[in-house]
Amino acid sequence: MIEGTNENFEREVLNSEKPVLVDFNATWCPPCQALHPVLEELAGENQDIKIVTVDIDDQDILAEQYEISSIPCLVAFKDGEEIARSVGMKNKKQILKMLGA
């Protein structure tokens, strides 16, 4: 998984050739911590998708830009466009569905 920042977001997410799942999270959010291992597994199992995690405290510009107001918030991107968004827990199959994978 890649740590998303304001600096690398365009390169890693918007210009990515693979579909990207961005996980907006924070260290103080318990469900975010619980979801983290699921995303790690998913990233390890699927080479044709990319998972980027964004800490909304460190990356407040991105959080503001994408209007994150509840976390964990998963946002799926394809060809630089947001194609799906979901707040709360999801299983792997549901996440892959968001990515159209």
Binding site: A63, S69, N91
Partner: protein, 295 residues
């Protein structure tokens, strides 16, 4: 064909899996997202024996690890229905069908919603059902909590450490919450208590900006809804005996009115809903399922 399918991976379902596997029953646990249930929403668990203080995700992980080490299959998929067959039951999920001789329903509860037309539009855009998840996003902003029970007061107290101001909105003149919590909130300069106040509508361009009340309106960036919870998964199979609030009625051994279908945890009709009562329920329901399978 499984011996037992457990639906729900909270503390009730995970404990049921421990007991089922120790009796060597072929067991599948179905969890819709991540094991842990409501435990995943808390940073503080301080009332579970032998675990002096921990956070929800840690205790959930410890339970899940124990369950896996005993050889339980865990499938992350949402159960959508249970159907009676000649040999037992078929549990259908979003992606497959599984045959089993018995089922333990441990599907827990979900937050009660406001029931306003605008609610869906602002979910994840200002409306939240989890202050510990989203509170810190509203540092220095005005927020509101709706409810009058203990959880509403706990949330208001927690949020007062982060937000610029907390409106505590309640539609009755009196509170259900413990007196000590109400007093604490009344003495908190950041909390403004509004009684006899109903939420009529929500407004905002992209995100929540305003809450429209029966007696005016307030500017708030977030509304934390804390008006209790409702049982989840009670419609998986027809013929369950439900109480007035739709919780599944069973005896204390988790037997429902349908032979082979058992219930455990918060979804069961009972008075106290805690991790410790959920684990107790899980053990009892698994024991009943084991007896059912052995006879």
């Amino acid at each position: 064909m499984y011996d037992i399918i457990i639906i729900g991976g909270g503390p009730a379902g995970l404990t049921a899996a421990i007991y089922a596997r120790r009796a060597n029953k072929k067991t599948l646990l179905l969890e819709s997202t991540v094991c842990g249930g409501q435990m995943l929403n808390t940073n503080n668990v301080e009332n579970y024996p032998a675990v002096p203080a921990t956070d929800g995700p840690s205790i959930a992980k410890a339970m899940e690890t124990q369950v896996r080490e005993l050889g339980t299959e865990i499938e992350f998929d949402e159960a959508v229905s249970i159907e009676k067959t000649e040999k037992g039951f078929v549990v259908k999920t979003e992606t497959e069908s599984c045959e089993t001789r018995s089922v333990i329903i441990a599907t827990g509860t979900e937050p009660r919603k406001l029931g306003l037309a605008a609610e869906g539009r602002f979910e994840g855009r200002g409306i939240s059902y989890c202050a510990t998840c989203d509170g810190a996003i509203y540092r220095g902003k005005p927020v509101a909590v709706y409810g009058g029970g203990n959880s509403a007061f706990y949330e208001a107290e927690y949020l007062s450490g982060l937000a610029e101001k907390v409106y505590l909105i309640h539609h009755h003149p009196e509170f259900k919450a413990d007196e000590i919590l109400v007093e604490k909130a009344k003495n908190n300069p950041k909390i403004e208590i509004m009684v006899n106040t109903e939420i009529k509508d929500l407004a905002g361009e992209k995100k929540l900006e305003k809450i429209i009340l029966n007696n005016g309106e307030i500017a708030a960036d977030a509304l934390f809804v804390a008006i209790g919870r409702t049982p989840h998964g009670t419609k998986l199979i027809e013929g369950l005996n439900l109480d007035d609030n739709n919780y599944i009625v069973s005896d204390e051994d988790g037997k429902t009115g349908i032979p082979g279908i058992f219930v455990a945890g918060d979804v069961r009709e009972k008075k106290l809903r805690q991790i410790v009562t959920a684990t107790a329920d899980g053990a009892a329901a698994a024991s009943s399922a084991i007896d059912y399978l052995n006879n």
